[in-house]
């Protein structure tokens, strides 16, 4: 039309450009700006979902982790307030020895009877160091006994005479005397070896405790000589064990707390410090924070911990951030787009297939067939779809259908509910077409029913069908998104745009993580809008009467 600026003659063949009906429709369609916008959006969505999904290095269910500095409990330390016993191999102590010892130590009554009736005695070996004996009453003349007098002199209540250990209870020579069998050594100290795996023998315990509490410089045990240096016990110049009145426990199993660390910690406790530094295995200084709760100390330190990178803000690695499960949102949007588009097309395809057959048969044959099929359409039309989807969703939940099964089931159910609209359109269209001259002519030429339906009627219905299908696609995507949003459609780990927005059910996410739900919602809106634009444009293109 625009070329009439050139010199043209009425009989010029090129003057009127004849377009085929299809070309006319295409021309009218492409003149519609909104339809072009729709086409562009849909192509972009397809590229984004299918090509983008291939290009993105992440998968839809890949979980990302991040390291975070978290103040974590490292160790606990407790002031030892109860006697710790190391027993002679093969011996055992009564259950109430702890309380009895406490009472005995505070009342200076070193002989007591345990709950099971046996008599026990404590031999004082130094400050807060006792040796526990099993006692057996005996008669022994204490008067003029050299060993006894030496013991009284030393302030002890035990003495050894003729290779037998005796314990006496009383201040004068009339005291009760018992034959004592050594059972255990008790103290308020704990031992830590400087090298992991060292086991201490009873003899070592006993002699070390006595030596430390009496301030001796060295002692012998197991044929070895040990030197005492404050709280550290050395052998052959090497540090062997640490004696401390604090009990240390690492929070995590398998962590070896070195004596040096304990010493540093003890020092910090005594100084009342809030924190102290100590070199870790790599030699880096780590700061430990001390929390004091009535003599129980908790040591904390900042530790790098691997955590799921949930609700990470958009960054270079994750352009749209991550969701609550630490999955990349961009990848999920792409894969979700695949599912949403796929479901839309599959459902519409099935709907058109069923609708065309039922509507076509109904319209063409009329009579009781029409009546019956239309009543069927009415019945399906009356079933409320949303509650039905919800019920079917919960049925699938119950059978724990896999993500793929759910997608197929969803397609089938939506198509089975949705075909009635198409059937009605096809029937109405065919009813009116049937009466037209070209159909009468087709019948007159003796064409078979099959040919008349599929070669002459159906092609005339197709424009309407395309319009309806492109608009219906939007509806299907919306319905799927709504179902997934309610948590009954596509399920984790598969993604769909609706299930991504599902996160807003948590108000905290809605308020603080806009980037999680906004893009998915916009994608749904844009896609559905684009299908509606296209459908609108197609209708105008197919129906030139509307364009005055």
């Amino acid at each position: 039309m625009e070329n009439n600026k050139e010199e043209m003659h009425l009989d010029d063949a090129a003057r009127v450009k004849v377009l085929s009906p299809g070309m006319m429709v295409a021309k009218r369609f492409f003149r519609n700006k909104l339809a072009i916008v729709g086409i562009v959006i849909i192509i972009a969505m397809f590229l984004f979902s299918f090509i983008g999904g291939m290009l993105i290095p992440y998968s839809q269910s890949q979980v990302f982790y991040t390291t975070e500095e978290i103040k974590k409990d490292y160790a606990g330390a407790t002031q030892i307030a109860q006697y710790q016993f190391q027993t002679v191999e093969g011996e055992s102590l009564p259950a109430d020895i702890y309380s009895k010892t406490m009472i005995a130590a505070s009342t200076d009554k070193y002989v007591f009877t345990s709950r099971d009736g046996n008599v026990y005695g404590l031999g004082t070996e130094g400050k807060d160091v006792f040796i526990v004996y099993a006692l057996e009453e005996t008669k022994l003349l204490l008067k003029k006994n050299v060993d006894y007098e030496a013991a009284v002199e030393a302030g002890r209540n035990t003495f050894v005479s003729n290779d037998t250990t005796y314990l006496f209870d009383g201040d004068d020579v009339n005291a009760d005397v018992y034959i004592a069998t050594e059972l255990a050594v008790g103290s308020m100290s704990s031992f830590t070896s400087f090298s992991a795996g060292t086991k201490f023998t009873y003899e070592f315990y006993r002699n070390a405790l006595i030596a430390v509490s009496n301030g001796q410089k060295s002692f012998e045990a197991d044929d070895t000589t040990y030197e005492v240096d404050g709280e550290v016990i050395k052998t052959g110049g090497e540090e062997y064990a640490l004696v401390s009145d604090m009990n240390f426990n690492a929070v995590e199993a398998g962590v070896f707390l070195s004596p040096a660390y304990k010493a540093a910690a003890t020092e910090a406790f005594e100084a009342g410090a809030d924190s102290f530094s100590y070199a870790d295995e790599q030699g880096d200084m780590v700061e430990y924070h001390i929390e004091n709760k009535n003599g129980q100390y908790l040591l904390k330190r900042y530790q790098e911990t691997r955590v799921i990178d949930s609700y990470a803000s958009p960054s270079k690695a994750h352009w749209f951030g991550t969701d609550g499960n630490g999955m990349d949102l961009l990848a999920r949007l792409m894969y979700g787009g695949r599912i949403s588009l796929l479901i839309g097309f599959v459902v519409i395809f099935i709907e058109v297939f069923i609708g065309m057959i039922i509507g076509g048969v109904s319209g063409f044959f009329g009579g009781w067939v029409d009546n019956l099929l239309m009543r069927l359409v009415d019945v399906v039309y009356c079933i409320p779809s949303m509650p039905l989807y919800l019920i079917l969703g919960s049925i699938m939940d119950f059978y724990q259908a896999g993500a793929t099964t759910r997608i197929y089931m969803l397609c089938i159910v939506m198509a089975v509910i949705g075909w009635v609209g198409i059937a009605r359109i096809v029937r109405g269209q065919i009813l009116s077409l049937r009466e037209q001259e070209f159909m009468v002519a087709a019948e007159a030429t003796g064409l078979s029913t099959y040919r008349r339906i599929f070669k002459h009627l159906i092609p005339n219905v197709i424009p309407q069908l395309i319009v309806f299908a492109s608009m219906g696609l939007g509806d299907v995507i919306l319905a799927e998104a709504t179902l997934s949003f309610l948590g009954l459609g596509i399920k984790y780990p598969a993604a769909s745009w609706g299930s991504i927005i599902n996160a807003v059910n948590d108000s905290y996410v809605m308020t603080n993580y806009l980037f999680v739900w906004l893009p998915a919602g916009m994608f749904i809106l844009l896609t559905v809008l684009a299908f509606n634009f296209i459908g609108d444009g197609l209708r105008d293109a197919f129906d030139p009467k509307m364009k005055r």
Binding site: D378, V379, I383, P387, F398, G474, T482, F485, L486
Partner: protein, 352 residues
């Protein structure tokens, strides 16, 4: 279901001139009612069948809870006992007929989840839904019809494109997404309205008028959501019909005889546009009672939609059964109403 054209033909074929229109109408309505009853039978049968397939039923949950009690019967025994109690031990067909026999007498049983008669629960929640739907319905009419007409009057103008795009956006907006945006803006960012619920925290201490205002305030966002989501189709419908009417011969005649454009549009065109619109609106009147399941659930408005949603999730068969049949009745009623209205509103149909 008859299309409007068929009614037109039916009226002519039925020798309307001799027998009178009212008689024909009565016959037509009666026939349609009978068909509706038959349809309802099949619809409810299908719904009942699906409901009986529901595995995560309230009964199982209840039995599970009861069986964990100390010294209780086994789970299986409880299931059997409860099934017998709730009439689920019969076959689907038998169960359906016993349900239908009671449903005809409007006895829908007791809701398991709410623990009260279904109809009692229904009547206590339906008015929230109705108020919500009515508010958005009125606003919809008030906005969509003028907008659609002005778009049609100036086809391909800026107004027309705006109306088309706005209508299409409304149709394309997922209600849950729009509701979330509204909540984000008005509840979270601006803090004007509450996120959820129908009443505020201090509802009880308010005066009667204050209570009304409180509920109205909580209705704003749901109404807005419903309005935006549903306004598009009416706008487009009005526009399309107005375009059709404006292209009709009698409008050309009206213009040709020299009537002002205002008169042509407001009297000749508008009245004729109203015919299909009134039919459509009339047909959607019963739908006002249907509740908006998604919107109500999102805003936790205790209407029929939200109540049913909870019942579906909980597997409360009597209530869901009632709700689905109720929805089917509303759909049938809407179609019937639309067809009758078509004959009532259009004088051409009546005269013939």
């Amino acid at each position: 279901m008859l299309c409007p054209n068929q009614i037109y033909f039916k009226v002519i074929k039925g020798k309307a001139i001799n027998k009178g229109v009212t008689n024909i109408m009565k016959k037509f309505i009666l026939k349609r009612l009978l068909i509706s009853v038959v349809l309802l039978f099949f619809v409810s049968l299908i719904i009942y069948g699906i409901m009986r397939c529901m595995p995560t039923s309230y009964v199982e949950n209840q039995a599970m809870a009861l069986a964990t009690r100390p010294g209780s019967k086994s789970y299986q025994e409880w299931v059997e006992q409860l099934n017998a109690q709730y009439g689920l031990d019969t076959g689907v067909i038998q169960g359906y007929f016993s349900w239908a026999a009671r449903a005809i007498r409007l006895d829908f049983g007791d809701s398991w989840y709410w623990n009260q008669p279904v109809l009692q629960k229904f009547s206590s929640v339906i008015w929230y839904s109705f108020a919500l739907a009515l508010a958005s319905f009125i606003l919809e009419i008030a906005i969509a019809i003028p907008a659609g007409i002005s778009a049609a009057r100036k086809q391909y103008s800026m107004t027309d494109y705006t109306v088309t795009v706005v209508a299409l956006i409304g149709i394309s907006l997922p209600s849950f997404f729009f509701a979330t945006i509204l909540k984000y803006i008005f509840s979270v960012k601006l803090g004007w309205l509450d996120l959820y619920g129908i009443v505020g925290r201090n509802h009880q201490s308010l005066s009667d008028f204050g209570k009304f205002i409180d509920i109205a305030k909580h209705m704003i966002l749901p109404t807005l959501t419903l309005l935006v989501v549903s306004i598009g189709s009416l706008m487009r419908y009005t526009r399309t019909n107005m375009l059709e009417v404006l292209g009709a011969d009698y409008i050309r005649t009206a213009r040709a005889k020299g009537l002002s454009e205002k008169k042509v549009v407001n009297y000749h065109a508008f009245r004729n546009t109203l015919i299909p619109i009134v039919t459509l609106l009339g047909g959607s009147l019963p739908g006002l009672f249907g509740g908006a399941m998604i919107t109500e659930t999102l805003f936790q408005i205790p209407g029929i939609g939200y109540t049913s949603y909870q019942c579906i999730v909980q597997g409360d068969i009597p209530f869901v059964m009632f709700y689905m049949v109720f929805m089917a009745v509303l759909t049938l009623l809407g179609n019937l109403l639309a067809d009758i209205l078509y004959a009532v509103v259009d004088p051409r149909v009546r005269v013939n």
